[in-house]
Amino acid sequence: MKMTTDEKVFSVINTIFMLFIIFITLYPFWYVIMASFSDNSAVLTNQGLMFWPQGFNLNSYAKVLKNNMIYTGYSNTLIILLLGTVLNLIMTALGAFVLSRRNLHLKKLLMIIVVVTMYFDGGIVPLYLVVKNLGLINTRWALILPGLISTYNLVILRTAFESIPASLEESAKIDGASPFKILWSIILPLSKPTIAVLVLYYGVGYWNSWFGAMIYLKDRNLYPLQLVLREILISGTNTDMVSGADSQVQISETLKYAVIVVSTLPILCIYPFLQRFFEKGIMVGAVKE
């Protein structure tokens, strides 16, 4: 089909707009990467945008990779992420399974108990007091247990379980399989796509979270990566990063940029593979509405 002049003008303007979107989305990352390779003094005196490194300097990377808190943060985050996600999935699957059973008299009551918590909560202080009274302060459990089940995810999984035809369980039931066995060997394998989405939701949640760690943890050896980053990037209180060599009281600019690169690179590397799942995930959530 031939394009009219109007159409061409529209296409050109739209393409320019899209290039603009790409630029404003990616440029901040580009700036961070370029600045991380630059001389600190050059970054400080640089005026405006930066397209190439100002000078070339790998000192900040050397310093970041020598910093133990980054490694500690990474390993703490991985421990919490792996352990937490597994527990999240077990608990969410149990809840979704029971609430998806047909002909349970108490199902409605249990569902209400669960869903009410989406609209009401006690607030951060009462939750803090519960965590404190359970003796979880300064333990990794404080970062996992309070968020063991996301009710939103539970509802998503329940919808997926409900869509599985009852006839598929019949033969197992006749063989006398226990409900747990039915969940484990029939329901879960049939819900793999939804489970994958939940793994990502829970996993990303752990990767990004810092607030719980900030209020519950005192021991810096337990800090997850994001809290270490907060010390370096936001409050500037990470004293390990200030070495005597450059005799600066502040953490140098290039060092902050290098920290951003080192902490965000893994996400950028797996992003292309994850993106597909997430797109599907947001639709899984949308079906519920």
Partner: protein
């Protein structure tokens, strides 16, 4: 006779539940850990929120602490801080909604107008990216770029502003909060609309083209009406949560110099509760926050049920 029947009925319904529990005990057992979780981490804090009406003394416990009625609420509402944080909460919430809501719709519609499949896929993937960057890193970047020697401060200075750390200027906090929010989420939020657009019947575009409708006319008369139901649902969700302004991003960005424009109810709850340990007072303010959040959600839902077919419950 009558009472007998009633008694019988009562016993029967008792039996019904007991029979159900006995029969399905293996299913119910699986729910016990779930129930324990909800009781301990959801309902216990809800009942713990009663300390808003007490003077909580840790050594006496939640139940043992003395009741004081609405003392903490009165203290909050008579303090000058109350009006400030309530006003900021509304300002930030409404600004985020007015500027943040249309953007994903606009770019979803324009994504749809890209004819080159690969370019389209690429722009979309790029636009989703910031959603996956952690809040701490994004806020770290914002602080860097808006510091006195950051490139955003440079651009602001070029446009006639003063070269300074932008996050120390009270008036700049709102635009920084809103613009960074759009930057981070506009691509990701557009997915819902992209999905809605892909559900529009292609024949409608065909017919519009035959009638000689321009591209802009097609957007106006086919695309937008096609995604209107989605827009309405998203709008209800958005308006319902308009004033539940999150504390995490603000805590990462603000400082005492700009509390006047950046302190919201939730950050105030955090500071008074977990930094100054005024547990009861902070819980009272938090309860007030939850209450107005709920009123908004409830009201928007009522309105939408009245004026359209879409509602959340």
């Amino acid at each position: 006779m009558k009472s007998d029947k009633k008694k019988n009925k009562g016993r029967l319904s008792d039996n019904k539940y007991i029979k159900d529990i006995v029969q399905n005990r293996e299913v119910y057992i699986l729910f016990i850990p779930v129930l324990v979780y909800y009781i301990v981490f959801k309902y216990l804090p809800m009942t713990g929120a009663m300390i808003a009406f007490k003077d909580y003394i840790p050594s006496q416990g939640i139940l043992g602490s003395p009741w004081v009625g609405f003392k903490h609420f009165e203290r909050f509402f008579t303090s000058p801080r109350a009006m400030l944080v309530i006003r900021n909460t509304f300002k930030i919430g409404i600004a985020n909604m007015i500027f943040g809501f249309p953007m994903p719709i606009i770019i979803a519609v324009l994504f749809n107008e890209i004819r080159n499949k690969y370019f389209k896929k690429m722009v979309q993937s790029v636009s989703y990216l910031p959603h996956f960057i952690s809040l701490v890193v994004v806020c770290g970047m914002i602080r860097q770029f808006t510091s006195e020697d950051g490139f955003i401060s440079y651009i602001v200075a070029m446009l006639g502003g003063e070269r300074q750390t932008l996050l120390n200027v009270p008036e700049y906090f709102l635009p920084i909060h809103v613009i960074s929010g759009i930057w981070k989420e506009m691509g990701w939020s557009s997915i819902v609309y992209i999905a809605a657009i892909s559900g529009i019947n292609a024949e409608l575009y065909e017919a519009a083209r035959v009638d000689g409708a321009s591209r802009i006319r097609q957007i106006w008369s086919v695309t937008l009406p096609g995604i209107l139901p989605t827009i309405i649902v998203m709008l209800i969700l958005r308006v319902g949560s308009i004033i539940s302004v999150g504390y995490e991003k603000i805590i990462l960005l603000y400082n005492p110099v700009i509390y006047n424009t950046s302190d919201v109810i939730s950050t105030y709850v955090y500071r008074t509760g977990l930094q100054q340990f005024e547990y009861s007072f902070s819980t009272a303010v938090g309860l007030f926050n939850s209450a107005i959040n709920f009123v908004f959600l409830f009201a928007t839902n009522m309105l939408s049920r009245k004026f359209s077919d879409t509602s959340l419950w």
